[in-house]
């Protein structure tokens, strides 16, 4: 069994990872509440944005901040575009159909990434943020600023989103739509515009998560695309409803994942953390809910 010292650095990295998962998870929960769409392309959009940023910085030699902004803008444009085209077309369908449709977007982006940034050459890419270098010590542990940003971004997004949903007009409209889209529309809320705002916000978060995860984890299309599953796990533990719970679950997933690293017998299995936690949570939480409510058309 490793000593406490072995775990200390992983608490820091786990919190940072959890923070980014929280940011992604909150984005997905808000979008689901406002539009009924589980946005499974979240990771792919962020991954492609990060790869574009990498190309801009390394091939076109633009300053770093241009690349990061383009990444965020890419996430916003693609997500908003998808929401505008396929949101209304699938508005009346089952949530399952809406979720599967976003897998279509995932495949398109995934194919494009494989085509444009081929990985067969074994070329390794990385995005480094200026915040990687500095930092400070807590006890024996080195903490860099990117890790601080990761956790802080998660906290800030959760708090700001919570306040936004509670105190602003647009946020109230989103909460109303989560309850009932039809009635909200009857009350005179511009449903399409509110949905567009949710798509845009989710897209911006996808871009931000893309840059941060490319730095904290790895800049690799497959890895980043499927990291969405970890944030999705956090959102699922919160049953796609509470952003506070999503935040807590994301931090838990990040922490457990990284804290398993120094334990030799479990280190190979640490990537299972989000799946196992989400599966257990869903199965426990769903006890007593047997019937599907509506016709599940496909």
């Amino acid at each position: 069994m490793p000593s406490w010292q072995d775990f200390e650095p992983f608490i820091v990295s786990g919190l940072a990872l959890g923070g980014v998962y929280a940011l992604s998870g909150v984005g997905m929960v808000v979008l689901y509440q406002a539009t009924g769409v589980v946005y499974l392309a979240f990771g792919a959009v962020g991954a492609m944005g990060a790869l574009i940023a990498w190309s801009l910085i390394n091939d076109a030699h633009t300053p770093g901040w241009v690349g990061w902004l383009v990444c965020v803008a890419f996430g916003a444009v693609v997500t908003l575009g998808y929401g505008m085209v396929f949101g209304p077309a699938l508005a009346k369908r089952d949530p399952l159909v809406k979720a599967v449709a976003t897998l279509g977007l995932t495949l398109v982006l995934f194919g494009l990434m494989d085509l444009l940034w081929t990985t067969s050459g074994g070329e390794s890419r990385a995005i480094t943020l200026p915040t990687d270098g500095g930092g400070f010590m807590i006890g024996q542990v080195q903490v860099d600023w990117t890790q601080v940003i990761g956790l802080a971004a998660g906290i800030v997004i959760t708090v700001v989103t919570g306040a936004f949903l509670r105190y602003t007009k647009l946020g109230t409209a989103m909460r109303a739509m989560a309850n009932d889209r039809e009635i909200t529309a009857t009350l005179g809320v511009p449903v399409r515009r509110v949905e567009a705002a949710a798509w845009l916000g989710c897209g911006v978060l996808a871009g931000v998560a893309g840059v941060l995860l490319a730095d904290l984890v790895a800049l690799d299309a497959t890895t980043l695309t499927f990291l969405v599953i970890s944030s999705l796990a956090a959102a699922l533990i919160a049953r796609l409803r509470s952003i506070t719970l999503t935040f807590a679950a994301a931090i838990l997933i990040g922490l457990v994942h990284d804290l398993l690293t120094p334990i030799n017998s479990l280190t190979n299995y640490r990537d299972m953390t989000p799946f196992v936690l989400a599966a257990v949570a869903l199965l426990v939480l769903s006890r007593g809910r047997v019937l599907s409510r509506s016709r599940e058309e496909m």
């Binding site: 589980v38 396929f86 077309a89 699938l90 369908r93 089952d94 949530p95 399952l96 159909v97 979720a99 599967v100 449709a101 897998l103 279509g104 977007l105 995932t106 495949l107 398109v108 982006l109 995934f110 194919g111 494009l112 494989d114 085509l115 497959t222 695309t225 499927f226 599953i229 999705l232 796990a233 699922l236 190979n268 299995y269 990537d271 299972m272 989000p274 799946f275 196992v276 989400a278 599966a279 869903l282 199965l283 769903s286 006890r287 809910r289 047997v290 019937l291 599907s292 409510r293 016709r295 599940e296 058309e297 496909m298």
Partner: protein, 353 residues
């Protein structure tokens, strides 16, 4: 103008209803002819390269068939079927290395063990609503992929996992005695696939098929009609896992060597994409799905086109199927062909008159 031509042609188009039984007979004849052609014609016509591709088509058609039962018949979406396929392949490979059992027996055992595993995993998930079931299968597939990456596929080593990392001369996974060569193994795979399709057909035509149809329409209504929905959903899950497990067993012999990187998580998503594109409501759709996924890449590779275009095409296909053509290619192509035929005939009659 074309529209009026079609409209004018329509009344003359109405063919007399076939007598009961005729359609079934014709269909059975077509299927038998196609099967005979696949068994005896194709291996003569194709090069070894394409025969290997067609063996993969047979394997993945079975996987698509399993997923098609879940999606098209019961309305359950699984995003983890390739993990189930990997379990089947793993079990078959382990049994083939450990025992000298005949191949069909190994396939049956692989199917049954996969069925047990798949059902045990799915059992609690069945209580969840559609969306949650789909997402939890994605989670479980991710978990299984992690376990497989650590445990590795058997390569002739000892112990439960049968993996020896220091092995230099890795023995290939054996094939059945009657099907050692690639063309013979292709025939073998086609026969196994045909049996699986028959198994599903029998299910659809009998009590479970009717129960599934009721559940897909409305679960509360099915429950009210006295159908044990939980039991029949479980049955569908068991059947799908069994078929996918057998497919994994056939895959083990086809590939000779298995690696965990052959079963990435995103394959499960691609499988769902091709099943939706092929048509989840029709058994033909499963074959179309297999062709789309395994034959098209071989063709593209031959033409020097990157297979990544296919991934993009599948993505577009999913969006297209979900927005405009829910029954997929197996339904859409005959309809479109019929429409085209009517159009051409209409034009022809206009010209002659």
């Amino acid at each position: 103008m074309a529209d009026t031509a079609v409209a004018a042609a329509r009344p003359g188009q109405r063919s007399p209803l076939p007598r009961p039984g005729t359609g079934t007979l014709v269909r059975a004849g077509v299927v038998a002819a196609l099967l005979l052609f696949a068994l005896f014609g194709l291996p003569q016509l194709l090069s070894l390269y394409y025969i290997d591709s067609m063996t993969q088509v047979a394997v993945w058609s079975m996987a698509a068939l399993g997923l098609g039962v879940l999606v098209g018949r019961v309305g359950l979406v699984s995003l983890g079927q390739v993990a189930v396929l990997a379990i089947g392949a793993w079990v078959a490979a382990r049994l083939l290395f450990a025992t000298a059992q005949p191949y069909p027996l190994v396939l049956l055992e692989a199917g049954l063990i996969t069925m047990l595993t798949g059902t045990l995993i799915g059992l609690p998930a069945l209580r969840l609503r559609g969306l949650y079931l789909a997402l939890i299968t994605l989670m479980l597939a991710g978990a299984i992929t992690v376990v497989l990456a650590t445990a590795n596929f058997p390569n002739g080593g000892h112990g439960f996992f049968g993996y020896n990392g220091s092995l230099v001369n890795i023995p290939p996974i054996r094939r059945p005695g009657v099907a050692g060569s690639d063309p013979a193994y292709f025939r073998y795979a086609v026969v196994v696939a045909a049996l699986m399709f028959l198994l599903v057909l029998v299910h659809i035509r009998t009590r479970p098929g009717r129960a599934w149809a009721a559940i897909r329409q409305s679960e509360p209504a099915a429950l009210a009609a006295g159908i044990n929905t939980w039991f029949y959903k479980l049955w569908a899950l068991a059947l799908a896992s069994f078929i996918t497990g057998v497919a994994g067993g056939v895959l083990a012999g086809a590939d000779h060597y298995l690696y965990s990187i052959d079963f990435p998580t995103y394959y499960s998503i691609t499988l769902l994409a091709v099943v939706l594109m092929g048509g989840a409501y029709s058994l033909w759709g499963a074959i179309v799905a297999g062709l789309l996924w395994q034959l098209l890449p071989s063709l593209l590779q031959n033409w020097g086109v990157s297979a990544d275009w296919l991934t993009i095409l599948f993505g577009v296909g999913v969006l297209q199927v979900l927005t405009t053509a829910p029954a997929g290619l197996a339904d859409q192509v005959p309809k479109d062909l019929a429409r085209l035929g009517r159009l051409l005939r209409g034009l022809a009659t206009r010209r002659t008159t």
